[in-house]
Amino acid sequence: MSNFGLLMKGEMLRLIKYKIIQISFVVTILWLLIIFMIGSDQAATFVPIFIFTDAALMTVLLVGASLFYEKQENTLKTLMITPSGLHAIIASKVISAIYLALQSTVIIALFANLLFAVEIRFIALIAFVIVIAFAHTAIGYTFSLFAKDFNELIAQVGAYMIVFAIPTLFYALGVFSEVFETVLMFSPTHAALLMINYTFFSSTRLVLLLIGLAYLIVVPVLLFIYIIIPKYPETAVKD
């Protein structure tokens, strides 16, 4: 991991030059405008959903697209023939994705807290967003490594949203009854929303919170060990 710091610096430069940080910032501003418009009464309900959308769903899309773009530019391949090592290369990309999620989370949370006095467990929120972004980075990577082209990547992300994210959002908005919660715990997005809700002092069952936390740690670790790390070199090298 000797080159990890240099790779991180390169990743940050890439995020700026490709305007990914700027775009993420613009999206955050849009969330802030929406929060401002919905007012203090509804802020506590909707802010967790916005943070969840940014940290989970946007991460899948952003990481998937970013990796796909790098695949097209062959920069994955040229990094593989440096002394950096595969783990350092992947770790630098994962951390930069987590940074993006944290950037918007902190801005949204501070805005909601300062403007509408929305109560937040800040340390827990930051810790959970790191876990959520880590899990969804793994999911985005998995999609991107298997996608033959950009359309296929978008289709995969779309399918993920329909299968996992929409039921979670329906549940959050009260469309689904609590009976479904056990089934929804198999959804990474539901686990993510549950964790974020906890940080906004929503009534959350501790058992489910711990299950969700464990789930979002175990699933990405398994994805990295069994899919991403073995498949990454093969994808990187492909012409």
Partner: protein, 287 residues
């Protein structure tokens, strides 16, 4: 001569389609030589290069690098290598200089980036985004990328692909300079011009198997015809005559012709590498 690589019975099968891309090839690469691996598209050139650069690790057979099993080397192996890929490998939204600075810092050894950029004629464009570069400029930047860490071995895949003759000449001169300074070059190409100008030895690969391995001169002699073609001026027109090269000094007809007529040209029957490529691989190469 010191062997840089010893490749013995190398085999590689792509898992996805079970195609045997490399099928039991053996060859040595010596220190300070330019070794050319030639063959048509899909013959196994790039696969062999990817194995030697440790991008493909799941191979059968044995590869020794400086006498030691390649599989025992860790990532420090890349400190010795410079790899010039067939396609551009840069961050398009970064400038040429930013790209080179980023990659350079990942190695222990560094060449002066600005000197390299000047050498390939990209210094003036160093602060332009790579997305604004032409294909030829990107390929020249690929070469700079390969040289950044002052490598001992250069792996070059279709290195002059997309370059105009002037820039191709610059790159070929730099390869020659690298070799003269003691560097070893492994060149994969189907461009016979590059081979003719650069390679000390060449191996022809077809269907994952090496079918010929020799110096370009040996190949030309072996595949050429031992004959001499003379074009001479005869009664206002150009005529030609063919003679056996063996015993040419005592060939009366030949001696009489050159004493009687005005000779315009004389050519021995050596063949071009392009002809050899077609004969050996059964495919038409690019001259």
């Amino acid at each position: 001569m010191e062997k840089v690589f010893e490749v013995k019975n190398l085999q590689f099968t792509y898992r996805k389609n079970q195609i045997k891309a490399v099928n039991g090839i053996s060859f040595d690469v010596y220190k300070g030589e330019v070794f050319g691996l030639l063959g048509p598209s899909g013959a196994g050139k790039s696969t062999t290069q990817k194995i030697l650069t440790k991008l493909f690790k799941d191979y059968q057979g044995e590869i020794l690098y400086l006498g030691k099993d390649l599989k025992t080397y860790n990532n420090d192996y890349y400190e010795d290598l410079g790899v010039g890929f067939e396609l551009p490998v840069h961050f398009s939204k970064l400038t040429g200089l930013e790209n080179m600075k980023f990659f350079s810092q990942l190695y222990k050894n560094h060449r002066d980036i600005e000197t390299l950029l000047k050498a390939v004629g990209l210094y003036e464009d160093r602060n332009r985004m790579v997305s604004d570069y032409s294909k030829g400029m990107k390929m020249r930047l690929n070469f700079v990328r390969a040289m950044l860490n002052d490598p001992k071995i250069l792996f070059l895949d279709e290195v002059t692909n997309g370059l105009d003759p002037k820039n191709a000449r610059i790159i070929k001169d730099l390869i020659r300079q690298f070799k003269e300074a003691g560097g070893t070059v492994f060149l994969s190409t189907h461009l016979m011009n590059d081979v003719e100008e650069l390679c000390d030895r060449v191996a022809f690969i077809r269907g994952g198997e090496i079918v010929e391995i020799a110096t370009p001169r040996e190949l030309k002699i072996r595949f050429g015809k031992r004959e001499l073609k003379v074009e001479y001026f005869n009664n206002g027109t150009t005529s030609e005559a063919l003679f056996e090269l063996d015993g040419i000094g005592e060939n009366k007809a030949f001696l009489e012709l050159i004493n009687t007529y005005e000779v315009e040209t004389m050519h021995s029957g050596e063949t071009s590498l392009d002809d050899i490529f077609i004969k050996v691989t059964g495919e038409v190469g690019n001259v």
